[in-house]
């Protein structure tokens, strides 16, 4: 791994750090915010499983993102990741809700425009479709999970203290699954744009062999894991903005969110669905923030009219506006930054692709 590559990769690692600092709250926010888990316990579990998810199962969603735009020069990868990181950072600073996935997609589209690479409308539609599907799916999962959990509690009638104990264990298990899914699904956002331009080779550490791509995902995963330890403030506030969520409700939200990420990143699930002749679920990075917002709304709606009335619609409107603005802003920043990197810093940001006819 040469120094140039590490310098270029720094923007991806920065993006990974900010993803950890923001999105870890989607996994463990309700648990830490409701004081069911201590922050350091949540952070350690989250960090370990994010890295595992990234290295073991990160490839699926990464391929999906690569189809949107194969950034073929390190300078381009660096700039796109930087544009996404700047977008996420600025919008977070302004207090606007932001999705890392959307920022990266916007950045790639900006690169496509700059490098005159055609953006595949089918792939773009598929990705944008998940921006609607993820929150809806999160909401549906939350409604079903809430109903099942409520029925279970009503039938079993556990003592409040035992329910508290089970919820804590549930938070740890669901959080570990959520962190694994976050690593598997969102690592593509962090270092996915570096995959086509990376020349990392496979290495063996004892009995474990890591491919070049897995080494890249490991680095990205470690950056996300480092960011997790800076997410305490976000964790303490998440889940309280849209509606107030109790411990059991918080657990439902975490599981629903984790399932959404799992569905969009599991190659095993995709293969199983194909075998059963069911429609394929695209393996692409989805926004964990969108999944959480959908799950929280689903939970409120599961409480009926009383719950729906508690939703702070103005907050929800701001979130939706943020979702529209993020990719547009990221695309613009990416386009402008690519121009500067190419013309001011004299770095190649793309390599022209010569079309060839297969014989």
């Amino acid at each position: 791994m040469d120094l140039t590559f590490i310098i270029f990769l720094s923007s991806g690692l920065l993006l990974g750090w900010s993803l950890g600092a923001n999105d870890a709250a989607n996994v463990f926010g309700t648990a830490v915010g409701s004081r069911m888990l201590r922050f350091h316990v949540a952070a350690v579990v989250c960090a370990v499983f994010v890295v595992l998810g990234a290295v073991v199962s990160g490839a699926g969603a990464s391929h999906g993102l690569g189809r949107l735009g194969e950034i073929n020069a390190l300078g381009g990868s660096f700039t796109v990741a930087l544009a996404a990181a700047v977008t996420v950072y600025s919008m977070t600073k302004l207090g606007l809700p932001v999705s890392t996935t959307q920022a990266v997609v916007g950045g790639i589209v900006g690169w496509n425009l700059f490098s005159h690479t055609a953006t595949d409308p089918a792939v773009l539609t598929k990705i944008m479709g998940t921006w609607i599907a993820a929150p809806i799916l999160g909401g549906l999962f939350a409604v079903v999970l809430y109903r099942v959990t409520e029925y279970f509690i009503r039938v079993v009638k556990p003592h409040a203290l035992w329910l508290d104990q089970w919820t804590r264990i549930g938070f740890l298990v669901a959080g570990a699954l959520g962190a694994y899914s976050l690593g598997a699904n969102n690592i593509a956002n962090v270092v996915g744009v570096f995959v086509p331009a990376s020349d990392l080779e496979s290495i063996s550490i004892g009995a474990v062999t890591l491919t070049g791509q897995q080494r890249l995902f490991l680095l990205g995963g470690l950056a996300v894991a480092a960011g997790v330890f800076f997410s305490r403030r976000v964790m303490m506030t998440v889940g309280k903005n849209i509606v107030t969520v109790g411990p059991v409700g918080g657990w439902v939200v975490v599981v629903a969110h984790s399932l959404v990420l799992f569905v969009f990143s599991s190659e095993l699930l995709q293969t199983s669905l194909m075998r059963l002749g069911l429609p394929r679920i695209p393996l692409i990075p989805v926004s964990s923030s969108q999944a959480v917002v959908g799950a929280v709304c689903g939970l409120a709606i599961a409480h009926g009219w009383r719950g729906a009335r508690q939703i702070r619609w103005s907050v929800l409107r701001n979130i939706a506006l943020g979702w529209l603005a993020t990719p547009a802003i990221a695309a613009l920043i990416s386009y402008v930054a690519l121009y500067f990197v190419q013309n001011v810093f004299q770095q190649p940001v793309y390599q022209p692709v010569i079309a060839s006819l297969g014989m």
């Binding site: 201590r38 009503r154 009638k157 409040a160 203290l161 104990q165 804590r168």
Partner: protein
């Protein structure tokens, strides 16, 4: 001395059994209170009444200790983070009921009021209704921990027994002041009736608080 760490499961089991013990104590105290008053009306303050009083005194001391231990564990271990305040409020209400029952008997023990026979039935009914209100608080509290939706089934019974206690108490006081007893005895007996009525009032307050706690837990 190094703090002994116990597993979360064992800690939960111990705490749940402490809460159950607290509820058992209040329920037994209500029974002891009813028996003590009934016995005093029939036979005056003798050895049996003294035994019942000592029993109540022990229940009250144990209740104090349990409330403090449970509260400390809840806060130091961050258990029931969203409802620990309610649980502590509930335990405090139960402890106040223990205090009031003990105080009621203590005053009888000190003053040994002479209750004229024509008031015996009403007096016993008044004490029985107040003790029943306390027992319904215990039932509602048990329900709060396992099935909060069902707690309201007991809360309306608490209201009923409180109203009955008040009705009987007022009846006795009215009759007392229409009687030929001396003012000093009228005032003394009225004071004792009021103590029993206050016990039912406290049970009613605990029931109102429980109704709100139960709604919060069901959401």
């Amino acid at each position: 001395m190094a703090e002994l760490k116990i597993s979360p499961f064992r800690r939960t089991r111990i705490l749940a059994s402490q809460i159950d013990e607290m509820l058992d104590i209040v329920s037994q105290a209500a029974l002891a209170f009813r028996h003590a008053i009934g016995h005093y009306i029939r036979s005056g303050w003798d050895e049996t009444a003294e035994v019942k009083y000592r029993q109540l005194d022990e229940f009250e001391s144990r209740g104090d200790k349990l409330r403090s231990t449970i509260g400390q564990t809840l806060y130091t271990e961050m258990l029931l983070p969203d409802t620990s305040g309610d649980v502590l409020g509930l335990l405090s209400s139960l402890d106040r009921l223990l205090d009031d029952m003990e105080h009621c008997l203590e005053v009888v023990r000190i003053e040994r009021p002479e209750i004229p026979p024509e008031y015996h039935d009403g007096w016993l009914e008044c004490a029985t209704m107040a003790a029943e209100a306390v027992e319904q608080v215990v039932a509602a509290a048990r329900s709060y921990f396992r099935d909060p939706r069902a707690a309201r089934d007991y809360v309306h019974k608490i209201h009923y027994y409180e109203k009955e206690t008040q009705r009987t108490a007022l009846q006795i006081i009215e009759q007392l002041f229409q009687s030929d007893l001396g003012l000093d005895r009228k005032l003394q007996l009225r004071g004792h009736v009021w103590l029993i009525d206050r016990l039912a009032d406290k049970a009613d307050d605990a029931g109102d608080a429980l109704a709100i706690y139960a709604v919060k837990r069901s959401v």
